[in-house]
Subunit: 350 residues, 2 copies
DNA sequence: CTGAAAGCGCTTACAG
DNA sequence: CTGAAAGCGCTTACAG
């Protein structure tokens, strides 16, 4: 970073001089204090306008020992689910007058550690993090130990009391299975997601619970892990279809995997929702416009993002650095990929 | 913003006391100065470690009248193209030791104005912006007038000399048309994109130029504007198929529109690439995994993002606040949606 | 209702 | 090689 020629920024002392008051008074006007005489206020504001004054928030933060910056660390910004989450978070922060730093770790714990350090140095008032895969349990200890409010989204960190905001993974998976059972499926697979994923573990738990409830043996149901991508979904499908007595339906780790499963089905000439039922998880925007439209567990990502933001905001403003977890509502968004709906349309297609 | 209980941050004076040196020396150690005796340096570093010191970048920035923050303003972070762009930009900034503020304007010029104000107050050293639709030409005058380096991506602002980094829209569209002509198509439509979009105007220009080159009448080729979404694409397709003597192929404003066109085709029982050729623009990650894989103009978004970042970085570090435009290379990524490739596979499918 | 003074946590000449 | 002093642009008691 070479030096740029110093720009002469106009400061409150110049405003004070122009308005014929002290800089204390300018500061009072800036914060909208009631105790400034209107005529003085107007003079100051006129000077601000005329001189093109720009408030220096950094200086103010330093003096007040408080900051209006908040951080958000996202594990994969290119994932549409994460992008929607980020937008929801950002929206709330902006509305509350905070400015969000965003950083994408691309699932790298190393990068994540750097970013956390940077954010601390920058003096963020609080932080929301969707942790990279393989994040060590102690990754946030420094931050939390220093009293910085931290909220996790989606993913939990082992053994730490950090509030988590995420959807009801167990219930979601249960709803999906129940739907498939209603439609008459008995051999249902769980497809995709990293084997070591905590979110996957929860979804799988709901999946198995629903099977057990229905008197089926949850342990006999296949669950294939995969990278949570389209390719991963397609591969998981191949694996499962190669088995003797293959399933007739799948609950997928998430929508992206489900898209991959649908792709794989179509490659084999099977129409998703006709020959094989597919249900996703998340309800990303694309799900509605997929072909066929994807039945999925809607989690209201934006809402979760907003909730996470509200939670840190409250922690910041009350000075407490703990909060309750939030388990967000989910519901089944029934569309064509699981079959059994809109029989008239299905007829027409047949 | 209520007050949080002030945290007692450890500062360089405490480090200085613990190490038995002055704070000047601590500062020197912090910046890695050569002129500190190794034994002193080690003592200081030990104190830093022991006391859990965190550098206060805000204070440093204030004193140095320089900042390590840069801003990026994105018009729609949920759009995968924009997300990839953001990631490319962020990567370069991080690598250069700057910390990027990111803001999503969701195509709102009002929001954008707020965000620009906030970033100025925060003291960003430079800014990259993909402007919201309908941004007034003077939106960046304040910033630029104050000498803040600004680079635009993708979209240009009328009548202003702000460097723009974007793909070669004209060439891209030309390549697409040329391919379709080679494949024997003669009635080719241009589908999607807002009618008032500058990017669309450029792509359309390339489209028409290619037709004219081939001796076809560019004015007789249909161009249907639409919102640049899947729905928009599907509607544009409907419009065009309803005409007498409809086209047999389409160059689409972007990949999202192209996905919508493919969706619309399939709804009508037409296989994209067999009954109707479709070419997109951008080569978002999804294009490769779409069904069928989308032929499209690859623009190397991440590379454009990195280039934009390098450009502001150079402006920041040289103190100049102009730079050349960058017109990024493009190429045609041939896949199945335009037909004419992989005849063996096509045979097998038939 | 307004001003003088101190101080937030750093860096930067300038001495020595 | 190291220290004392000034100052970045604000805010905050404290007087008056």
């Amino acid at each position: 970073m070479a030096a740029a020629p110093p720009r002469d920024r106009v400061t409150i002392v110049e405003i004070a001089a122009a308005a014929g008051v002290s800089k204390s008074t300018v500061s009072l006007v800036l914060k909208g204090s009631e105790s400034v005489r209107p005529s003085t206020r107007d003079r100051v504001n006129a000077a601000i306008r005329d001189l093109g004054y720009v408030y220096n928030r950094g200086a103010a933060n330093l003096r007040r020992a408080r900051s209006n910056m908040v951080g958000m660390i996202i594990h994969d910004l290119i994932n549409p689910f994460c992008a929607e989450l980020a937008v929801g978070i950002e929206r709330s922060f902006q509305a509350a007058g905070y400015v969000p730093f965003i950083a994408n770790t691309a699932e790298s714990p190393v990068r994540q550690a750097e970013v956390i350090k940077l954010m601390r140095e920058q003096g963020v008032a609080g932080l929301i993090i969707s942790a990279a895969r393989g994040t060590p349990d102690e990754a946030l200890d420094g931050l939390v130990g220093a009293g910085v409010p931290v909220v996790m989204t989606m993913r939990r960190l082992g053994g730490r009391h950090i509030p988590v905001v995420g959807p009801d993974n167990r219930l979601g998976a249960r709803l999906a299975v129940e739907r498939l059972l209603e439609l008459g499926h008995r051999r249902i697979a769980f497809l995709g997601g990293y084997a070591d994923s905590g979110v996957r573990a929860e979804r799988l738990e709901g999946f198995r619970a629903a099977l057990a409830n229905a008197g089926l043996d949850p342990d006999s149901a296949v669950a294939i892990a995969s990278v949570p991508t389209r390719e991963g979904g397609a591969q998981a499908l191949e694996t499962v279809l190669a088995q003797r007595n293959p399933p007739t339906a799948a609950v997928c780790f998430n929508d992206i995997v489900a898209f991959g499963v649908c792709l794989g089905l179509r490659r084999r000439g099977i129409q998703p929702g006709r020959g094989f039922a597919v249900i996703g998880f998340d309800d990303v925007q694309e799900a509605l416009h997929a072909d066929p439209p994807l039945t999925t567990i809607a989690v209201d990502v934006m809402g979760l993002g907003e909730r996470a933001a509200q939670t840190v905001l409250r922690m910041i403003e009350t000075g407490r650095n703990t909060a309750e977890d939030h388990v967000g509502a989910v519901h089944l968004a029934v569309r064509e990929s699981c079959g059994g709906i809109m029989p008239e349309r299905a007829e027409r297609r047949a």
